[in-house]
């Protein structure tokens, strides 16, 4: 006897062996439905992606390349120090010299848009997952899926939804790059010392306040590491983004593959590498207390501290002067023991 029936517009066949299911038909049907239902949404999203991308691209390509390099080197000096500044300048000059400057700027813009979008998704999702085990149980396999599903597979529906251009490139990049952002945010929030959270609770802080004043600040290193990873993964997607028509360093790479042009391939490929290293070092230095900026900040803090301490000391002297009977009695504790 046969077990065969129709389900969701396809024929399911269970017996006799081997069974077959029309999974492809289902997926196609699903995306058809998806496209129709969310057409307006994706059109809007596409416009947003393109607008933001164009804006950032315009800003980044506004200064002449030498001015950009100068600014980048100075920024590098402040963020990390002299060595990094020199390295940044040399790497960028290399990109200019091999004629990939415009592509590099486009890639940078694409990475920035994708990172922005991925961060906007990753941080709230990560926080939610950290606070809710059920969400976490759902998010974990979803992130596995996004990270391991071959990029070309979702590139096809992305193309169908957006058409050729920068938007599907950004979407594919976001999908691929969002996972570590979510994971490291969740990990960071969950890893916050339980006792410190208990301290917040014990003094009567609301959950929102604990999140803002305790969990997020203490999880910041982990969250920053997540954003750093998002940026790095975004960069590794530029080639694939280039295939669907997004401008940038993916373009020449694709071209090099098609024309077997090793020279062009390495010029563009090394440009990606340099861009990646520069972006990685920049983001990794956030909050590490490196570079000129940290030195200046330290000096400023020192001055402020001294001033504040002087103010406090003055206040104490004043307090002692005209409040012999303060609300709290002062023990004869000696500070020398401290």
């Amino acid at each position: 006897m046969d077990i065969t029936f129709n389900l969701f517009g396809g024929t399911v066949h269970l017996w006799p062996w081997p069974p077959s299911i029309p999974f492809d038909v289902w997926i196609e049907n699903f995306f058809d439905w998806f496209k129709e239902t969310f057409a307006a949404f994706f059109d809007a999203l596409s416009v947003v992606f393109e607008t933001v991308f164009n804006a950032i691209d315009w800003v980044l390509s506004y200064p002449p390349d030498w001015a950009f390099i100068l600014i980048a080197a100075i920024a590098a000096l402040f963020a990390r120090g002299r060595k990094f500044a020199i390295g940044t300048a040399i790497a960028l000059v290399f990109i200019v010299s091999v004629g990939q400057w415009e592509n590099a700027i486009a890639t940078l813009a694409l990475v920035l848009v994708a990172t922005l979008a991925a961060t906007l998704i990753a941080i709230p999702l990560g926080i939610w997952a950290a606070r809710n085990d059920r969400v976490s149980a759902f998010v974990k396999p979803l992130m596995d899926l996004l990270q391991t599903l071959p990029a070309f597979v979702y590139l096809v529906p992305a193309l169908a939804l957006f058409g050729i251009g920068v938007a599907p490139g950004i979407l594919a990049t976001v999908i691929f790059a969002v996972a570590p952002g979510v994971r490291l945010t969740e990990l960071g929030i969950r890893g916050v010392d339980k006792e410190v959270i208990e301290a917040g609770q014990a003094f009567g802080a609301t959950p929102g306040r604990i999140l803002r004043q305790i969990q997020i600040p203490l999880a910041m290193p982990s969250i920053m590491a997540g954003i750093n990873q998002v940026i790095m993964l975004s960069l590794s997607m530029v080639v694939i983004a280039g295939m669907v028509g997004a401008p940038g360093l993916g373009d020449p790479v694709t071209e090099a593959v098609l024309t077997l042009d090793e020279g062009l391939g390495f010029e563009a490929g090394l440009s990606v590498v340099f861009l990646a290293i520069i972006l990685d070092r920049f983001t990794a230095s956030v909050g590490k207390g490196m570079g000129l900026y940290a030195q200046l900040a330290k000096a400023r803090k020192q001055r402020r501290e001294t001033a504040e301490q002087a103010r406090i000391d003055a206040e104490i002297v004043e307090m002692e002067a005209h409040s012999a009977e303060s609300t709290i009695a002062t023990p004869a504790g000696d500070n020398s023991k401290v």
């Binding site: 600040p217 009695a329 504790g333």
Partner: protein, 423 residues
Amino acid sequence: MNDIALKAEGLYKVFGRNAHDAVKKLQKGASRDDLNGATAAVIDASFEVKKGEIFVVMGLSGSGKSTLIRMLNGLHPQTAGTVTIGEDSITGVSAAELREIRRHKISMVFQHFALLPHRTVIDNVAYGLEIQGMPKEQRIERALKVTRIVGLSGWEEKYPSELSGGMQQRVGLARALSADTEVLLMDEAFSALDPLIRREMQDQLLELQSELGKTIIFITHDLNEAMYIGDRIAVMRDGRIVQIDSPEEVLTNPANEYVEQFVQDVDRTKVLTADSVMRKPFATVHENSGPRACLQAMRENGISALYVIKRDRTIVGWVRDRDILDLVRKGEKSISGAIQHDHGAVSKDTPLSDLFIPSLEAALALAVTDEKERLVGVVPRVTLLAALGGEPDAAHSAEPVVEPLPEAVVDKILDSSAEKGGL
């Protein structure tokens, strides 16, 4: 009723599935081991903490003490039972009400300090006030005062990571004190500190307590610490409170074998005081009695010296048999010439550790006086030794070793003086 700061009644905390069934089973007398996978951390804990008291909950790790203290401010919701702080119940109230109680009635000091690392000392101290909604200037002013009280003046603008462990815990203490709550929970607050700092913090806590009069519930696994700071101690084992008593009672009257074993390692010289080991004074003489009566009393008790007291039992001094003997020989009628006034009596609250030197210096069993300087007992050296051995009963039965004059000598003197017609 009004002097009760915190009251816990029938508190249970069971983790795992079917927690409420497990509580019912426990209430019917089931043991902790047959609960079908549920884990009972606290079983039927009931106690009252008086205002201004230091109540210590003592137990080894896994005894449920940390869970218990966290139920007192609702960090762990109880499975069954009630907790009342002052007039407010914290069990069965909404989250918002609970937060309100935590802001104003009860604060907490943590084992690993739990400071906010990204905030300065002063901002950490002001944290509770910030949550209470106090305006910035006011809370900083108050935090400054408290920071000074705990001895951290000059460190206000530092970050916790720049401070030593002891100083960090002072910040933790200041944070709890500045919230100005009646009840203070301290969860192993000094356990992470090294011994010298720990003792210093204990002293400071006692000092603060006597000045501020807070109600403190202190968790520790260190019995010496419990004995040192506690007004009363609750000993926990396997989730149950097995004894609630004063430190001395726990030491001298352990409720069961477990507590007894536990207290074996305690430095009893720091906990036990003179009045817990003293014996009834041996015969004493009145300052107006004559030398012969005095000598008689010594001979009857087989001792070589006596305390001389007034009618209201305050100590005048002491006399030695040899001096009395001289008086008898001289035919004196009063012993006043032989009284030595350096009696070295100690007050009955003196810990044993402070009795050794006086005991060595005293010519006879150390006299113990009450607050009105009246003689209430004596501590012979042998008693002191017996108490150290952990056998208070042995201390009472131990015979003092004294070397009175040979009886023959005394008799001869008494007889000879009788022949002379004296007395």
